[in-house]
Amino acid sequence: MKDAFGLPQSLLVLGGTSEIALATARRLVTRRTRTVWLAGRPSPALDAAAEQLRGLGAEVRTVAFDALDPESHEAALGKVFTEGDIDLVLLAFGVLGDQAHDEREPLNAVRVAQTNYTGAVSAGLVSARALQAQGHGSLVVLSSVAGERARRANFIYGSSKAGLDTFAQGLGDALHGTGVHVMVVRPGFVRSRMTAGMEEAPLATTPEAVATAIELGLRRRSETVWVPGALRVVMSALRHLPRGVFRRLPV
């Protein structure tokens, strides 16, 4: 069960090697979390992540999960929920793709969309149903500011996050009053493996900062969290720029 400050005792991470997710898990384990499920494709990285969290004192188990295989989600995640209540599901998987390359290789672009959007729709709905049966729990969805307005430089990734973001908002409304809380997290540029070698955008942040923002959002039962918070204002302004002006911006 979550405590009065929204801190979970059990955590399921979808995308168990995501740096943001692991930063969040580390933070929550130092608070109240004792049981962690890391769902992801079996890999040494997943095992290493589990080992790291065990070192902090949590009981960690891994479960094979592939975002690109929605048919398997029901079985894989169903098993986790039958073992006990999950207080927090962190939907953290996603790929950035390579925009220039993916524009030439539509099948690669589709993979980005299928991972970030289709896979999340399936895993999100499966998790939501299980949480609803529990009568409590939070579903935290890692979206991105890239979904807020399409940019020339990363609109394939951006459009998949836009779909995910809209899906998560709607799911949150659908679950209102069921005891399940859906929180959409929109980080800006996060310094991580995913963005290694890329030029840093203004208001860049870190996985740890995102974890802090998630903890605060849980306490406040927020529905939307921007990291850093100033992005909310910045994106609100950018969203209203005319297309002709936005196109000329060096973003």
């Binding site: 069960m1 009065a4 929204g6 608070r31 529990q134 409590h136 069921t178």
Partner: protein
């Protein structure tokens, strides 16, 4: 029998979860509801005054017992009452005071049920004299997980597991309670101020035995030399000859007053360090240095907050956390450290009270042990509060103390066994009595009770 699937919280309004709230109107309906509980079980609930998640059950059933509210029999000579568990202490006072009897123990609110009073084994300002509520319960009827109704007498293991057992042994249907005789419905109250925590403890230690009721409001925002300054209010039921002539005409009239309810929407952060600091300053200053024999109504002496319905709304949407702990005699240093830490942390608390407990009570999970108990309220949105309270838990556990489950909404489960040494007995009895785990609450899930 009505059933609604709705979000449920405790009085602190934190951590809402959704449950099917069932309101049985007869004992048979209650038995049916227990039998029909699904895999996520059920938990009885009274008037929802437990601050945390004790009467919540996510995804399962919550049995609202307040429709079972009949007073069955009053022994006017012997001073006992037999009533349904859903009867509130407010109702008992209305019925009993004109007959010259009073409830044996009342907490800071009259709006608790008899069932809840036993389940949390509540205490009041008279704990140092009278002990907890369950000490005055002669027997009760308990609807257990197998659907049977058992008559449970005091001194039996099931009685001691149920007293303070947070509703996890079954649903109390009726109870027989021993009452306190009174000549009037007024209280004779002595008020005095204490300059700091040591002065306060010295006064309580020296003269508490002279009073049936004793409590101290403590200013936790005071700093420096004034840390722990307090206002002591202690008294007893006023005898008839202490009343002025006018009041003697109706000495046993039960009078209460109610202000308008607190609004549902209050600005976030209404209770800040500034506003609460100001309130505490004024509250301390307006109290007399020493006043003896002031006559007060029962409602003013025991239940000042009941005058404002829904007062819990003033903490805003985030709700609030109540923290109450006890440390034994000889652990005064731990108490001093905790008060010092709270004062240094600047917790905006205006409902903080310190009391000296008397003898421990027999309930296995009953809270009181002889020593010092401090209760405080803090807005749940205060940054860093969770970690801060974890630190206080450590201090309390190290001193052999414990926190009160009826108020808890955030304890680290690992500390529970050290705080409640009879926890294993409780778990064993529950495993035998309720092997399927029909009686389950958010509290029991969170702390694996």
């Amino acid at each position: 029998m009505s059933a609604d699937t709705v979000p449920v919280t405790g009085w602190g309004r934190t951590a809402p979860t959704v449950a099917r709230v069932i309101r049985p109107r007869t004992f048979q309906e209650a038995a049916d509801a227990v039998r029909d509980c699904g895999v996520r079980g059920g938990i009885p609930r009274g008037l929802g005054r437990a601050y945390g998640d004790a009467a919540q059950n996510a995804g399962g059933d919550v049995l609202d017992m307040t429709a079972l509210d009949r007073v069955h029999a009053i022994d006017v000579d012997g001073g006992t009452v037999l009533c349904d568990a859903g009867v509130s202490l407010h109702r008992l006072m209305e019925v009993l005071l004109p007959l010259g009897w009073f409830v044996p123990v009342t907490p800071g609110t009259r709006y608790v049920t008899v069932g809840g009073a036993i389940g949390a084994d509540i205490h009041g300002k008279n704990h140092h004299v009278s002990g907890s509520f369950a000490r005055h319960v002669l027997s009760f009827e308990l609807l257990t997980a197998d659907g049977r109704v058992r008559t449970v007498d005091r001194g039996t293991p099931l009685f001691d597991a149920t007293a303070g057992g947070m509703g996890l042994t079954g649903v109390i249907l009726t109870a027989t309670v021993r009452l306190q005789p009174v000549e009037t419905s007024l209280m004779s109250v002595d008020t005095e101020r204490a300059d700091d925590l040591d002065d306060l403890m010295a006064r309580l230690t020296a003269t508490d035995h002279r009073y049936r009721y004793s409590v101290a409001w403590i200013d936790l925002l005071a700093r420096g030399a004034a840390t722990g300054r307090a206002v002591l209010t202690r008294g007893d039921h006023a005898p008839l000859d202490a009343l002025p002539d006018r009041a003697r005409r109706e000495p046993l009239a039960f009078r209460t007053s109610r202000l308008p309810a607190a609004p549902d929407l209050v600005p976030e952060g209404l209770l800040s360090r500034t506003t609460v600091g100001l309130f505490n300053e004024l509250w301390y200053r307006r109290a007399p240095r020493l006043r003896r024999g002031e006559l007060q109504r029962i409602s003013a002496f025991f239940h000042p907050l009941d005058g404002v319905p829904h007062w819990n709304r003033i903490y805003g949407r985030a709700g609030f956390v109540q923290y109450q702990f006890v440390v034994g005699h000889g652990q005064e240093d731990a108490l001093r450290r905790v008060v010092g830490r709270i004062s240094a942390q600047r917790c905006p608390s205006f409902l903080a009270v310190l009391k000296r407990f008397g003898e421990a009570d027999p309930g296995w999970l009953s809270f009181p042990v002889p020593g010092w108990t401090l209760a405080l309220d803090v807005p749940a949105g205060l940054p860093g509060l969770g970690t801060f309270l974890d630190g206080l838990d450590e201090e309390v556990a190290k001193a052999g103390g414990r926190v009160y489950l009826a108020k808890d909404s955030r304890l680290r489960p690992e500390l529970l066994a050290a705080m409640y040494p009879r926890l294993d007995d409780f778990r064993a009895l529950r495993a035998e009595l309720d092997p399927r785990g029909v009686f389950t609450s958010d509290l029991s899930r969170r702390l694996t009770l």
